[in-house]
């Protein structure tokens, strides 16, 4: 028995797994199509690299283009399409090139075309917001170019090949290769073509020898053993007098010389040769001297002679303090302090930590990151140099900032904006730290020394920790921040930028959480516009707000449960709560829902409720769904809904409840442009009077409804669904007909069904391959008692829509009167129905999936 039970226990996970697989297959076959929610990217080693990096070679071993394989999974698995698309950043700083193509199932091949950085935005074809960024760094063993930088006390500068430089004391040259990893263990060699004009040491330090022009060349081999070189011309003008500005000489040598001999010595050994304006002995004059120091002057330039009693061995390349792994090599140059001393060949080098670096014949071979001390010793004289501290660093090859400009492609608007302010507890600040994304750093242990800059200091300032302070002048403008990698205090070409597009409302604040959101726009709080920088989990909040929302493509997610109902409002704006300084309201570029899915949210809440607002309201590029109504408008003066996806709601996409327009009252305007209507319980647009007055007949309540652009309607209804449409109406709006609402529902359903079956209406009826009848329910306006002014409907494209009045047949009127209605009931209801080409059928058919992809978003943006 025990064995039997143990065997059964071990079977349990197998049974569960098989059940899940079976269920998954059934759901995939029969359930409505599901969009992708997220994607996952893994490399060949099964490491998750989504929002991370991939390093691959430019060439394969056989010389063909390098390839790497990644695996992209779309979740959930039952999403109706696992198709993937990608875009490539076109910013200048991304110099690499690659292409991506599908191999099979979830396997994709990335082929390198050019070395350097590439930033990919990889996303699901069915849901643009299900995306991941991938930073591909294409390494190369071939140096594409070698550049010379010069550095002096004032700064550093990059030079083109053959550039003319003007010599300054302390000038040092650097050579940087691109790509840097192509150097490997090789060393950059410096050479001067004109030793009589200038000498260059192994590290690129220039010593003037004569007035003139010297060609200085940097040469290096890359990993393919190809030699590369570049050169500059260093001009030494006649204002350069001395080879050095300070020299050490042994006392017993120099003091033995008489004055003339001293001057002669300086003239012969320390003065640069000037053929055009030769320097004479007489030009050398002693300015001052003391026991240890002599200062001589020639043509206004001075040299200091320091006398030393004992010679010392010194490290003359003391300008080396930080060195980089695989950066072209460094040389430790050792010599005696005495200018006359000959270079010794008997030098031994000592390193405090051999794991960090080695020195062979002066050549420093860095091995690992770290700090160590080095010194040299003349084996013959036993003289030791001072100790020099060297820090070995690793140069970054690739990195990203915490935001990339491709991250700005969010939501329908494919835009990301920023407010001037951030919340710091209860206070406001306008400082923000951009930072770098450590997951993208390559190599992982690279030393990140960055120089942060902004493009316009009138708009913002930035410190060297990356803290940006935005100025009020930046409102409505763009501020570009650049982070440049610093190597040897030289600004390299490794640079990343991010552009902050500042929202044009100065009274806006960036919010990252529900609490901050409420603090910003919630009634009685800061009364500032909220710019979302993160999804918001609103739970069961019912929030009254007083200002605009810039969504940046994020989601405002409510989680209403059985305790919420049709009258609840997720975000409610009341005209009475608005301050005088608010001149318009904008709700743009976000997704808002009252529940996590259609069927759960369809009888709960209104996502956006706007009542009695006298100022213009723009609802732009939003996705509102999973609620009772997506947008509910009540007596608002001027509302524009544009470029939005509305629906998947229990009742309507937009529900208007407007008051009667008596003679004097000017009509309000509602403009609809480029809208996608998803499935709703009733029509997509429903208009009813704000409250039905049974003693008022024949008075219009319809504001002007202006329909422009396109309307993509997925809201098809068959006979069965039409029957259910009207039951959702609240009985209270029927006045004293409320008690016979069921009768009215049935009558209206019957009416519509008859319309559906009427052959005369065949142009608006779609018959699918199963011979089922469908009609697209775009709008329903309630007539009967109130009057609907048909001139209120201003259709830009009358070819697409049919405005159909539906008069109540006499038997319906009589029935209603029989049940107690006291008025004539002569006014028609109106339906706005979608027309289509009978031969080809509608562009959007019943049960078609609505992919939220860039193609649709682009159309919505108009």
């Amino acid at each position: 028995m025990k064995k039997f039970l143990i065997a059964i226990i071990f079977l349990i996970p197998i049974i569960v797994f098989v059940a899940i697989q079976g269920t998954s297959s059934v759901i995939q076959a029969w359930a409505p199509p599901v969009n992708a929610e997220r994607i996952e990217i893994r490399d060949e080693f099964n490491k998750n690299i989504g929002n991370g990096k991939l390093v691959m070679p430019r060439y394969a071993y056989d010389g063909s283009d390098g390839v790497a394989y990644i695996y992209i999974n779309v979740y959930p698995s039952i999403a109706f399409s696992d198709e993937i698309q990608y875009t490539v950043s076109e910013e200048e700083n991304y110099r690499g090139e690659c292409v991506m193509e599908k191999v099979d199932n979830s396997k994709y091949k990335i082929t390198a075309k050019k070395s350097g950085d590439v930033l990919l935005r990889i996303f699901s074809a069915t849901n643009d917001n299900a995306y991941k960024m991938l930073n591909v760094y294409i390494t190369s063993e071939y140096i594409n170019n070698l550049s010379i930088y010069s550095q002096n006390q004032e700064g550093s500068q990059k030079h083109e090949e053959g550039a003319e430089l003007v010599f300054e004391y302390d000038m040092k040259l650097y050579a940087f290769a691109n790509p840097i990893e192509a150097i490997g263990e090789n060393v950059i060699f410096w050479k001067t073509e004109n030793e009589d004009i200038a000498l260059v040491d192994a590290n690129g330090k220039i010593t003037p020898m004569g007035v003139g022009r010297a060609k200085i060349t940097a040469t290096v081999k890359d990993k393919t053993n190809t030699e590369h070189f570049t050169f500059v011309f260093v001009n030494i003008y006649d204002n350069v007098i001395f080879k050095r500005l300070q020299v050490y000489l042994k006392r017993d040598f120099f003091e033995k010389l008489d004055e003339w001999e001293k001057e002669e010595y300086i003239f012969k050994n320390l003065v640069v040769e000037n053929k055009e304006r030769p320097i004479e002995y007489a030009d050398v004059e002693l300015v001052e001297n003391d026991k240890d120091t002599y200062i001589y002057q020639v043509r206004g330039s001075q040299i200091v002679i320091e006398l030393i009693d004992q010679d010392e061995l010194i490290i003359t390349s003391e300008y080396l303090s930080d060195i980089y792994l695989e950066n072209g090599g460094y040389t430790l140059i050792v010599n005696y302090k005495d200018f006359n001393a000959k270079f010794s060949n008997n030098i031994a080098y000592y390193v405090s930590d051999n794991k960090i670096l080695e020195i062979r014949n002066g050549l420093i071979i860095p091995k690992a990151k770290g700090v160590c001390h080095v010194y040299a010793k003349d084996i013959v004289t036993q003289k030791k140099t001072n100790s020099l501290k060297l820090e070995v660093k690793e140069r970054p090859l690739s990195f990203q900032l915490n935001y990339t400009n491709m991250d700005n492609q969010k939501g329908i608007k494919q835009q990301r904006v920023w407010a001037l302010n951030w919340l710091d507890g209860d206070k406001l600040k306008n400082t923000y730290n951009l930072g770098i994304d450590q997951a993208t750093l390559y190599p992982k242990s690279a030393n990140m020394e960055l120089v942060w800059q902004v493009d316009d200091t009138n708009l913002a300032q930035i410190d060297q920790k990356g803290n940006i302070t935005f100025k009020p002048e930046s409102v409505g403008k763009m501020v570009t921040v650049t982070a440049t990698v610093l190597v040897h205090n030289i600004l390299t070409e490794m640079q990343r930028c991010y552009t902050f597009e500042m929202v044009s409302d100065p009274n806006a604040v960036n919010v990252y959480s529900k609490d901050q959101f409420i603090k910003a726009v919630g009634k009685g709080n800061l009364d500032m516009a909220a710019v979302l920088q993160s999804d918001l989990e609103m739970q069961k909040e019912k929030l009254e707000i007083t200002n605009s929302i810039y969504g940046n493509g994020y989601m405002i997610k409510f989680a209403y449960d059985e305790n919420s109902g049709q009258n609840d409002k997720a975000l409610a704006v009341y005209g009475r709560d608005l301050s005088e300084k608010t001149t318009s309201l904008i709700f743009e570029n976000f997704t808002i829902q009252c529940s996590d899915e259609f069927k759960n949210g369809q009888d709960k809440g209104n996502t956006i409720f706007i009542e009695d607002v006298p100022i213009p309201v723009i609802v732009r590029n939003i996705i509102a769904r999973y609620a009772w109504n997506a947008i509910h408008l009540v007596d608002d003066k001027d509302v524009t809904v544009v470029g939005s996806i509305l629906g998947n709601t229990g009742f309507a996409a937009i529900y208007f409840g407007y008051s009667y327009y008596f003679e004097d009252r000017p009509k309000d305007n509602i403009t609809l442009k480029n809208i996608v209507f998803r499935e709703t319980g009733c029509a997509s647009l429903i208009t009813v009077p704000r409250s039905i007055k049974t003693d008022i007949s024949d008075v219009n309540y319809m504001p002007n409804i202006i329909i422009k652009g396109f309307i993509d309607s997925y809201n098809w209804k068959n006979l069965e669904e039409i029957d259910k449409m009207f039951r959702a109406f609240d009985a209270s709006m029927f006045g004293d007909l409320a008690k016979i609402k069921t009768v009215i529902d049935n009558l209206m359903s019957e009416l519509l069904t008859n319309i559906l079956k009427d052959e005369q209406n065949s142009k608006i009826i779609y018959i699918d391959e199963n011979e089922e009848l469908w009609i697209s329910m775009n709008m329903f306006t309630l007539g009967i008692n109130p009057y609907i002014d048909s001139d209120s409907f201003i259709l830009e494209n009358k070819d697409i829509f049919e405005l159909t009045p539906v008069y109540l047949p006499s038997y319906v009127i009589n029935t209603l009167k029989f049940f107690g209605s006291k008025y004539e009931l002569r006014n028609p209801c109106y339906f706005l129905i979608y027309k289509f080409d009978k031969e080809n059928g509608p562009a959007i058919k019943p049960n078609d999936a609505c992919p939220e992809n860039e193609e649709l978003f682009s159309r919505l943006r108009g």
Partner: protein
């Protein structure tokens, strides 16, 4: 010799009954047994194929074989110790055999040969498909297949002889602790839970491996290094792998670098080591048996049946309390029954939690969040079935004391009610702890908040189904009891009632679970409506169970003679 053969035949007859090919039923039984064996063979071949392929992908082919041999070795050692103790010392027929004109040695050899034959057969049945699967997945030479018989023989004989050495000490230990029932239950719970946990983790890795189309190693670099290091200490089982593979090169990718590593030990060394171990265990076994077998056998027969002595005061209790106490003690003081019931009930919360965790991870990736309630319900019902299966032997377990139940002055309904209460109480506790863990670990939450209503709803359905199944199981056992009158009276073999109730329970679990997963997607209804529907079905099932139980209950009970 004849006596040994005769005794051997008797052992086979006792265990397997006479095999007859006359008549449809016996032939059918043989065919079904063969079919099940073939299916078992195929399952092992397939399952182990995935297992070895997964390890091979990570460069752990050698380690996988060592892990198998270690598991098999430990399993055989434990079962051999248990079998040895049971067959050689505790078997009820020992009393009878000692009175026959056969020597103790003849009894010993007959039983020993019997055990060996069974072990060789079972080990071959499991190992051969497994090793064939290994050979299919890993690049092995012909000597791998040639060494299979040798490995099986080593695998059987070494544990066998070791078990003979260890059986007597184990018996003494078990005699010492056999009355520490709480400790035994706790220890067994921990062991069962740990084994299940390891199994589910491996299973999850296999699923990930299959789902990723077998492209990746499912082991992290760190895990590969830990496994490869740990294997070195598994003596003597690594030498079994040594016999089959010798020194073996494997390719591993660590920190994205590919390296070839030589693992294993030479065949010569492996044979030598195992031969030495075998020899030592034979010698040890001989010495132990020679000196101690008869003595232990006789002392055990005297001691058999009495676990411990305890002087207690006579307490006056109500009928209900007395009966429930008796039910509890009957299970509590039997290691067999404790394992079948209490241990599994105690393990259920942890096992259900881990099983659910893995299922949810697979389910949500495949389908989405809406699957959570249905899947959790299915997992809970499945584990409930395991616990409930014990009640399918509620009458059978009375054994030779069954007749007491008929003559005692307590109505049958009350006696059965007491049994039901005990099963319901344990099931209730197990379910309550399970659901508490699910709630506290936010396992059913999609946004990391505490969720109460859904788990409680599932809990309610589980309780109803569990109660219904318990009633059905009890009634089935009353209708067709399998009372054991010989031996020590304990029910150790599985019976058809248990199998049937497990089957019914699994079918119900799948029906409810799959319905719970499908309804939100296909019908688009909310959890509430789905819950009401499933609760209604559960209630209907409970009502049906009650009717099934109560109708003609007394008549069925009285029919048992």
């Amino acid at each position: 010799m004849n006596n040994i053969v005769t005794l051997l035949k008797m052992e086979f007859l006792n265990r397997f009954e006479k095999i007859s090919i006359k008549g449809v039923k016996p032939v059918l039984k043989i065919l079904i047994t063969l079919a099940i064996s073939a299916m078992f063979f195929w399952l092992i071949l397939k399952g182990s194929g995935y297992f070895f392929r997964m390890f091979n992908k990570a460069g752990l082919a050698y380690e996988a074989l060592v892990i198998y041999f270690t598991g098999a070795f430990l399993f055989l050692l434990i079962t051999n110790i248990s079998s040895t103790i049971k067959v050689l010392y505790f078997k009820g027929d020992n009393e009878i055999l000692m009175r026959f004109p056969v020597s103790g040695w003849e009894v010993f050899w007959a039983k020993t040969i019997f055990l060996l034959i069974i072990q060789v057969a079972l080990t071959s049945l499991v190992s051969i498909p497994l090793l064939i699967a290994y050979g299919q997945q890993v690049n092995v030479t012909a000597s791998f297949y040639v060494s299979i018989p040798a490995v099986i023989l080593f695998l059987v004989f070494i544990p066998f002889f070791l078990s003979n050495v260890l059986a007597i000490p184990f018996m003494h230990i078990s005699n010492k602790i056999r009355h520490h029932y709480s400790f035994i239950i706790l220890a067994l719970t921990i062991v069962v839970t740990c084994i299940f946990l390891i199994y589910t983790l491996i299973f999850e890795r296999i699923i990930v491996y299959i789902r990723d189309q077998e492209l990746f190693s499912v082991f992290e670099d760190k895990t590969i290094l830990i496994i490869s290091q740990a294997i070195k200490y598994l003596i003597p089982t690594k030498y079994f792998a040594g016999i089959m593979l010798g020194e073996f090169d494997v390719t591993r990718v660590i920190n994205r670098e590919t390296m070839v590593v030589t693992v294993g030990s030479t065949r010569t060394m492996s044979y030598l080591v195992l031969a030495i171990i075998l020899e030592l265990s034979v010698i040890g076994s001989y010495l132990v048996i020679k000196k101690l077998y008869r003595k232990t056998l006789l002392s055990n027969i005297e001691a058999e049946g009495s676990a411990f002595k305890k002087h207690t005061k006579i307490k006056r209790r109500s009928e209900f309390s007395t009966l429930i106490y008796k039910e509890f003690i009957q299970v509590f003081r039997s290691i067999n029954y404790s394992f079948q019931y209490f241990v599994l009930a105690c393990s259920m919360p942890i096992m259900a939690y881990f099983c659910n965790r893995i299922a949810l991870s697979i389910g949500m990736d495949n389908i989405g969040n809406k699957i959570i309630p249905g899947l959790t319900l299915m997992v809970m019902l499945i584990f409930n079935t395991i616990i409930v299966s014990f009640s399918a032997t509620s009458t059978t377990r009375e054994g030779s004391k069954f007749y007491h139940t008929k003559v005692m002055p307590v109505p049958i309904h009350k006696q059965l009610f007491v049994k039901f209460v005990m099963y319901a109480l344990v099931s209730f506790l197990a379910n309550t702890i399970t659901i508490a863990i699910i709630i506290l670990t936010k396992q059913m939450s999609t946004d990391d908040s505490f969720v109460f209503m859904k788990p409680l709803a599932i809990y309610l359905i589980s309780i109803m189904i569990s109660s219904g199944l318990t009633l059905i199981a009890m009634k089935m056992d009353i209708i067709k009891p399998k009372i054991a009158l010989s031996g020590d009276g304990e029910l150790t073999d599985s019976n058809s009632n248990t199998t049937t109730i497990v089957l019914i329970g699994f079918i119900l679990s799948l029906l409810f679970g799959v319905a719970g997963m499908l309804i939100p997607y296909l019908l688009g209804v909310e959890f509430e409506i789905m819950f009401y529907a499933l609760a209604l079905f559960a209630l209907t099932f409970l009502v049906f169970s009650l009717l099934f139980y109560f109708i003609r209950l007394k008549a069925a009970y009285n029919k048992i003679t």
